[in-house]
């Protein structure tokens, strides 16, 4: 759990340190498809299920959702 605390603290520090204010008309780059958090939802779902069923770890990005007999 110490790892978790350090990670949360690091994230909070980044936020608290402040970021550059980016006006809506300066967000052309952030709006590009390759800059999205998920550029390929179906591909992400495929890998998520493969790793969920073949490794012990899951989660971190969103809730667990439905179950399957694969794990």
């Amino acid at each position: 759990m110490n790892y978790l605390k350090q990670l949360i603290l690091s994230c909070a520090t980044v936020v608290v340190m402040g970021c550059e204010t980016v006006a809506p008309w300066d967000r052309e780059v952030l709006a590009r498809p390759e800059m999205q958090l998920s550029t390929d939802p179906m591909g992400d779902a495929l890998f998520e299920q493969v790793y969920l069923s073949k490794e012990a770890s899951a989660g971190g990005y969103k809730t667990a959702g439905g179950g399957c007999g694969c794990n």
């Binding site: 936020v15 967000r27 952030l30 790793y51 899951a58 989660g59 667990a64 959702g65």
Partner: protein, 379 residues
Amino acid sequence: MKKIDPLLALTTAALSLPVFAGNPPTEKEISLRASSYKEDDISKTSVLSGSPERYKIDKTHFRLLTPIGSNWSTEINTSQEVMSGASPWGTFSGSDEQPSLIMSGATIKDKRTEVGVSITNYQDNASYGVTLGTSHEDDYKSRSIGLSAGWDLNNMSTLGIGFSFSDDDIEPTDAKKFGRIQQAKKQTRSFSVSWTQIINANSLLFSGLTYTNKEGFLSDPYKLRDTRPDKKSEWAASLKYRIFIDSKNAALHLNYRLYNDGFGINSHTVNAEWHQNISLRWKISPRIRYYSQSQADFYLDADDFSLPKTVNQSSDHRLSGYGAITAGIQANYELSGWKIKVGFDRYISDNHYGHDSSRYSHPALLDFNLTSLGIEYKF
């Protein structure tokens, strides 16, 4: 870079920037993805009996995303998997103490059908979603509900929360014949919170935390001896960093996840992807992933039949300490609303790759290939 019309840039940003919760999709998307997953066979010298041939899974996935009016959208996902191959039943220790496997025959065949429907409502600075899902296999049925919400804060960040509940029924095949449990239940409750922050005009950071609680039958009913606790809590924290590099006309994606659970397993996962624009139509994305986990508290290198069945033990390779590397590449081609995606990934695992590995490398540790072909259309 070429000069961008400010009004066009503003419109593009406002319509497609998902860091903002209040932006509904403006186009319909219809997608089809076919994938082939194939595990390498196990070395015959590690198999005492059964088949060394491992799993092959062919999957077809259909997805439809469509706006409904100006404030709603719906997403439908359906997929079908066809599985065949053999899986480990037990692990035994040989004269040299190296573990060997009892495998099933290569006659396991199953089919899984999954359906999920999501509805999302969008407000000025928020979105609220509900997802209903079901998954059906011969020996496993699952019904789930998910709730999610997101709020735009100070125009630079988004707070997201989520909850899901899954109610699962387990009915192992040939239960009477092999003395397996005939019916069992499992329930999963999961909570998430996330924060997405715009750092500057070229980068953003996502941080997420999930807590999942599982209760019920968590053992593997097909193994000769596998007894696990009937409760498990899981914590996972993650970071996703995105940065666009103007000079390369490419985006770098970096992901990290830290995981810890009540079985005593902790893991680290690091991903890196490079999204290179070749032209307006072509994009190439090489990617690499490193994964490492420690073993469960009750993991044994080989099954111990002298222990009472009530004592926790498992020799499942997925509960051993090991590491894994995935390397892959995806090519995208886009033309007039159509998009074609072709991907290939190779996964290899070994206990020498891990940060806190088990004493012996489990003979069932996986190597596999994953190939996919997708087509998408926006209109």
